[in-house]
């Protein structure tokens, strides 16, 4: 599904990603962990196509297609979805209008007709319910005044609505209370399917109790320095990152192993 080879990316001439290699197959769930500032969000944003980051080297393909050649919106239409670590507030655009425009853009890409307002409303209410968001959130501005947890649930709601091939979840678990974590995890598990892959960035093992990953990777200093099964997450929880030869403070400049 997704193949990342020797990916380098910089922001404002500062290299953040220093050669990422990662293969994700359909049906798999991969977790990425790693110290603050190590480049996890950068990787997520680069995959989604944020132009603030410049790819200087390497290649990324989605089902054989060169992802780096595609505009952000084309990547989305090909099935990439990013749940933002910091979802953006957009006052003046209602959540409903936003979601409907997105769904119809995807449908148009697939050669399907626009979904009419009534049909869409029904669907939107359903996914709201799935993430325990009151449908009144549809009328509010996109993420406007949403609490941290509500924003995260709004992200998962969008994933459920858009049914991506590859869902990248950037710390969708942080800032959630215990019940909300369960709701979000259920949402993510509902997304799991043999033809879909999930890449989730997290700091906490507790999410991985709900969503059991097939692989866990440690990203430090812009490189993946260790990969393993789910037991790696437990090990990290117990020992921190120190035993891998990095310290939290200088994580961004950590050497490769």
């Amino acid at each position: 599904m997704l193949s990342i080879k020797n990916l380098h990316a910089s922001v404002e001439d500062k290299e953040i990603l220093k050669g990422i290699n990662l293969e994700i197959k359909a049906g798999e769930v991969h977790a990425i962990m790693g110290p603050n500032g190590s480049g996890k969000s950068t990787l997520s944003q680069v995959l989604a196509g944020n132009e603030a980051f410049e790819v200087t080297e390497g290649e990324v393909t989605l089902n054989g297609q060169n992802l780096l050649e595609l505009e952000t919106e084309e990547r989305a239409r090909e099935g990439i979805f990013l749940a933002f670590q910091y979802p953006v507030e957009i006052p003046g655009v209602s959540n409903l209008q936003f979601l409907r425009t997105a769904v119809n853009a995807m449908r148009k890409h697939r050669g399907e007709e626009d979904m009419n307002a009534a049909e869409f409303m029904k669907l939107a209410r359903e996914v709201c319910k799935q993430v325990d968001l009151d449908p009144s959130f549809l009328k509010r501005g996109v993420n406007e005044g949403f609490s941290g947890g509500e924003k995260k649930r709004n992200e998962i709601m969008q994933a459920l609505l858009l049914q991506p091939k590859l869902a990248i979840l950037d710390e969708t678990d942080s800032g959630l209370d215990i019940d909300a974590l369960k709701v979000v995890a259920d949402g993510v598990n509902a997304l799991r399917s043999p033809d879909r892959a999930i890449l989730m960035v997290t700091h906490y093992q507790r999410l991985l109790n709900h969503i059991v990953p097939d692989y866990v990777h440690v990203l430090a200093g812009g490189r993946i320095i260790k990969s393993g099964g789910r037991e790696l997450a437990l090990e990290l929880e117990e020992k921190g990152y120190g035993w891998l030869g990095i310290k939290d403070e200088d994580a961004a400049d950590a050497p490769a192993n």
């Binding site: 132009e51 919106e73 957009i90 003046g92 655009v93 209008q97 936003f98 425009t101 853009a105």
Partner: protein, 431 residues
């Protein structure tokens, strides 16, 4: 040195013959005063940014003929008065037939009424700041006097369609005077449109509307500036408010060769309040210049002003918001907010809040910002598969949504939205 150009050519043609004597006399008096007035230059403080867009060719001196069919049949739900080239067309109009409300064209006033009106015209506007708009009083061919008796309530909005025909060069001087009695209520919608497609014709529209609100009167004024690109429009709206009256204004303006609108409000009775909303969009080489002035003459009055400007391409938008709190106007509450959106590097927006506060116990808040579309917001939208162009439209609309949504007449809101959509269509090209 060449003598500075003046307005003298504007008075070469005799006109206004159908007006009653007192109004004709007023016209002559104003004309005499303006005859030698030099045209504003960029050194004229309140015309700094607009002077170079003012192009008064000689063939604009003549008034456009007050005849012919209106080019646009606007489906207006309710009462309407149609002006063509500054003169009312009774056959195209639908007047309300309600007690306490009279709508009379200036030409139909009797001598006594005309004398009274002549004594009241031009008292809502400060002459020094609306020099050019004053031309209207020297040139109007006709006008509309709207009188509301105390407690009169107009059950539906009254539309005034100001249409000019741009087939030939010339000018038009529509004039409205609204006299709102105690506790009366009215929503007035003014739509400025143009017909005719002769791109060569040079047309000036100089429209003046005045509102006098007696104690407790509630008046809503909605103004849509939608004339064709080539039209030069210089307009002014003057408002005087007595005790506990409320004036609400919603202006939506689309740019053109020259658009200049002065809105002046005088709060003269305690407890009076005004709310002024404005939206301007301009694209191509268009120009739009809004000057507003709120005078807190007495204390215990509220004013709230919110203007949003959008400039695309090489367009130029100007906003000048003055608030003047007089020495005795204690407990005044004035709020002004102006946000501006630049959609291209070639566009320009000049904004200037001017606060003059001479009383000490007042609340006065103001803020002005100029920015561009937020990149992070664009990224968020396109990351959901929304096209870049559509994302730009959504965000631009979001910038003014709140104000458009506040327009209290749904049909007008739709008209404005339709025109805004055309603006977006032309501004954001398909990638």
């Amino acid at each position: 040195m060449k003598p500075a150009p003046t307005l003298s050519s504007a008075f070469l043609h005799p006109a206004g013959q159908s007006l009653p004597q007192p109004l004709l006399a007023l016209r002559k008096q104003r004309a005499a005063a303006l005859l030698g007035m030099p045209l504003p230059t960029r050194k004229t403080e309140n015309w700094k940014y607009s002077a170079r867009h003012l192009k008064l060719a000689d063939d604009m001196a003549i008034s456009l003929p007050a005849e012919g069919k209106t080019g646009t049949s606007l489906a207006v739900p309710g009462y309407k008065v149609v002006f063509l080239n500054g003169v009312m067309l009774p056959e195209a109009s639908e007047f309300p037939d309600l007690d306490g409300i009279t709508i009379t064209s200036f030409s139909d006033l009797d001598e006594q009424e005309a004398r009274e009106l002549a004594g009241r015209l031009d008292h809502t506007l400060t002459p020094q700041s609306v020099q050019l708009a004053q031309l209207n009083s020297a040139r109007f061919e006709d006008g509309l006097l709207i009188r509301l008796q105390p407690d009169a309530v107009l059950d539906q909005p009254l539309y005034i369609i100001h249409e000019v025909n741009a087939d030939a060069s010339g000018s038009a001087f529509p004039r409205i005077f609204v006299d709102a009695g105690r506790h009366s209520r009215l929503t007035l919608v003014e739509e400025f449109i143009s017909s005719g497609s002769n791109g060569q014709a040079q047309v000036l529209v100089n429209a003046v509307t005045e509102f006098c609100l007696d104690e407790g009167a509630h008046l809503t004024s909605i103004r849509l500036d939608m004339e064709g690109d080539s039209i030069q429009h210089i307009g002014a709206t003057g408002v005087r408010q007595q005790r506990n009256s409320r004036f609400e204004s919603h202006c939506v303006g689309f740019g053109g060769a020259l658009r200049r609108h002065d809105l002046q409000v005088r709060l003269e009775g305690e407890g009076a309040e005004c709310k002024l909303n404005g939206v301007v969009v301009a694209q191509g080489a268009q120009h739009y210049d809004n000057h507003t002035n709120i005078e807190h003459v007495v204390g215990h009055c509220n004013s709230e002003e919110t203007y949003r400007n959008i400039a695309a391409d090489q367009a130029h938008v100007v906003f000048n918001g003055r608030i003047h709190i007089h020495p005795d106007a204690q407990k005044s509450n004035a709020e002004m907010n102006n946000k501006n959106l630049l959609l291209s590097n070639g566009a320009e927006i000049d904004t200037k809040p001017e606060l003059e506060i001479y009383a000490d116990d007042v609340k006065c808040a103001h803020g002005a910002t100029i920015g561009q579309l937020d990149k992070t917001s664009v990224f968020y939208l396109v990351s959901r598969g929304i096209g870049r162009r559509e994302a730009h439209v959504l965000l631009t609309m979001a910038f003014i949504n709140e104000l458009v949504a506040q327009i209290p007449v749904p049909a007008v809101r739709e008209t404005a939205q339709t025109r805004l959509n055309q603006f977006f269509e032309a501004t954001f090209q398909e990638a």
